[in-house]
């Protein structure tokens, strides 16, 4: 039944791209899934499980494995790995996209385009007062994810030692209109709190401090858990100003606490980096004549067959990306039916 219809081009194979293409395939549409990396799964494939003492914390990271496990069953989805899109041309009906990658050059026709190009974790070098590149034991939360996933314990880049005191700094690159990020990234409080819980589970003596503005809801049982979280960790409702190397290899900060400026230092510091537009965004905006949302992400042009799904459209959790992907499938199909 699918043969007579145009295919749908899905760009990006993270949670949103995988979910959207499967949703479309299940509803009888052929998809061409293009991924620039060498494997499917996007960012989430690199995240750690955040269960604490055998209890799931609903981070959703393992959902990408679940999606990948089910992904094998779809002949309707044609996958191009290590492939980029050089050009997209609008035709009288649909589009022609020029693919360039592992399988050489190839022009494909499609009836609609779903951009699921995801996000870029905020690069802390952009916020230079963090002195990210000159402080060895300051890492991003993305790096911590990989550490926990691959090594199960945190270690200090400078000497491989396990840190006894760790500080998380929230809102790094989020809620930052000056740098073009006038939004809460929605996921950072969730992943930071969950990873902090996991760290304490793995190494109970670890002392963890949070620098934060407002803790954003994560998960539904937040109201029940907030009280105990306040006892588990040290909470400083401030964002530090200066960041520096202290005592040779520790991370020092100057911060206002109780109406006084103090210097605090930690074995390791984790920056809870937010979600920002990908480097490719501008290319796609130009290729498809798309405008930008007030939060700085791509806006779709659904009347003309271009859809933006998942975190390519703005910060979004794994959970919301899956919902968004399903919702987009409905809109894409409505468009395809209308165009037919």
């Amino acid at each position: 039944m699918a043969q007579n219809r145009d295919s749908i081009l899905v760009v990006g194979s993270g949670v949103a791209g995988l979910s959207a293409s499967m949703s479309l395939a299940r509803q009888g549409y052929n998809c061409i899934l293009v991924e620039k990396a060498g494997s499917l799964g996007g960012h989430a494939a690199g995240y750690t499980c955040k269960a604490i003492n055998g209890k799931c914390q609903k981070c959703g990271a393992c959902l990408v494995d679940d999606l990948l496990a089910r992904f094998g069953d779809f002949p309707e989805i044609q996958v191009f790995l290590e492939t980029r899109i050089d050009r997209i041309e609008r035709k009288k009906k649909g589009f022609t996209a020029s693919l360039n990658g592992k399988y050489g050059l190839k022009d494909i026709n499609c009836g609609a385009i779903l951009l699921a190009t995801g996000f870029k974790p905020f690069d802390p070098n952009e916020k230079s007062n963090l002195c990210f590149s000159s402080i060895p034991n300051m890492i991003t939360a993305v790096e911590l994810e990989a550490m926990l996933r691959d090594k199960e314990l945190p270690y200090r880049p400078s000497d491989g030692r396990q840190p006894e005191t760790i500080a998380f700094v929230q809102c790094v690159g989020s809620r930052d209109p000056k740098r073009g990020h006038p939004y809460c990234s929605q996921v950072c409080c969730g992943y930071a709190l969950r990873m902090a819980g996991r760290l304490r589970d793995l190494a109970p003596k670890t002392k963890i401090t949070f620098f934060f503005m407002d803790i954003q809801t994560f998960g539904r049982s937040f109201s029940q858990r907030w009280a105990s979280l306040q006892q588990d960790f040290i909470w400083i409702n401030e964002i530090p100003g200066d960041y520096f190397v202290s005592d040779g290899d520790r991370v020092g900060v100057s911060v206002e606490v109780e109406d006084e400026i103090v210097d605090l230092s930690f074995d390791m510091m984790v920056l809870s980096v937010g979600m920002t537009p990908t480097d490719d965004q501008l290319t796609y905006q130009q290729m498809l004549d798309l405008s930008m949302s007030s939060e700085g992400f791509m806006l779709p042009d659904e009347d003309r067959g271009v859809f933006v799904v998942g975190s390519a459209s703005g910060p979004m959790s794994i959970e919301k990306s899956i919902t968004d992907a399903a919702g987009s499938a409905t809109r894409v199909i409505a468009y395809m039916e209308g165009a037919r």
């Binding site: 230079s128 520096f244 190397v245």
Partner: protein
């Protein structure tokens, strides 16, 4: 390479060592300074009480530079920021330019908005280059440990300095110091302000701010400080004794102007560089580097 040298108020009266060493180093590197007797105060000292008046003074200086058809080279960071800020506004804000020109008309001048302002250190780095400076070095400073102090207005507010460097990760002075063969040490609070601007309102706070930095320089093993602004020099050099007695500490850290260090590396003598005018004695440094004269 010719620039209109803007000395401002403080340097010609109180920091002749800075002026002497700058002129000497500039001459050595083939930089020609055109003096302009009619430059007035940059405007900075009056900005706090009347920003418009300050702006007018800056604009008048810029008008003179435009007439000379030369870029302004500043030595004082406060002058740099004051002039650059107004130059920036004049260049991009037409309404502002018209308004200023109305006032300037009273003295028969006008600005086009083409004036450019750069600090001497930046000219050294950008127009002469680290390589050329290094080539002029004749005396081995043997990696003498120096604590570089950028100060504030040399870098900030960053938006007025087009193509300037990131104030949170400034490298220019470190690069110049390295080119001279000295070693720029790293120390905590390197980005902190000297406190000079607070002196007029609250001496204790101002001295406390300078102390913060001297403490860190001392802790990090800095044997001298290098500055590019007479106000910073006032705080660290002229006031070092006051800080020592007010807070019961002891530093005796010589504070040199950047061109003084460069001049030493280029083989210039103490007199040429005005090193005897620095308040904290610099003799020990020059002996260490040059041997007893």
């Amino acid at each position: 390479m010719k620039y209109a040298l803007f000395l401002g108020c403080t340097i010609p009266a109180r920091s002749r060592n800075y002026e002497m060493s700058s002129r000497a180093v500039a001459a050595k590197l083939g930089i020609e300074f055109q003096d302009q007797m009619d430059f007035c105060c940059c405007g900075f000292p009056i900005k706090a009480s009347d920003e418009h008046a300050a702006t007018l003074l800056a604009a008048r200086n810029l008008a003179l530079a435009e007439e000379m058809n030369l870029e302004i080279c500043t030595l004082c960071s406060a002058c740099t920021a004051m002039l650059a800020e107004v130059a920036h506004k004049l260049r991009y804000d037409e309404g502002f330019r018209e308004e200023i020109n109305k006032d300037l008309a009273a003295i028969g001048r006008q600005v086009k908005g083409t004036a450019r302002v750069r600090h001497f250190a930046r000219i050294l780095l950008e127009d002469i280059g680290v390589e050329n400076i290094h080539r002029s070095v004749t005396v081995d400073l043997k990696g003498f440990p120096v604590a570089v102090h950028y100060g504030c207005h040399y870098l900030k507010p960053s938006y007025i300095y087009e193509g300037g460097e990131d104030p949170e990760a400034a490298r220019s002075l470190d690069a110049l110091i390295a080119a001279a063969g000295a070693k720029s040490i790293s120390y905590i609070r390197k980005k902190f302000c000297c406190g000079g601007s607070v002196l007029v309102a609250d001496e204790k706070t101002a001295l406390g701010m300078a102390k913060e930095k001297l403490d860190q320089v001392q802790a990090a093993g800095g044997r001298s400080m290098v500055v590019v602004c007479p106000f910073c020099s006032v705080m660290y050099d002229d006031n070092q004794k006051s800080i020592e007695s007010a807070f019961n500490v002891s530093y005796q850290i010589p504070v040199l102007y950047l061109p003084q260090v460069l001049g030493l590396a280029m083989g210039m003598d103490r007199k040429t560089l005005g090193l005897n005018m620095n308040v904290v004695k610099t003799r020990k440094i020059t002996e260490d580097i040059l041997g007893a004269e």
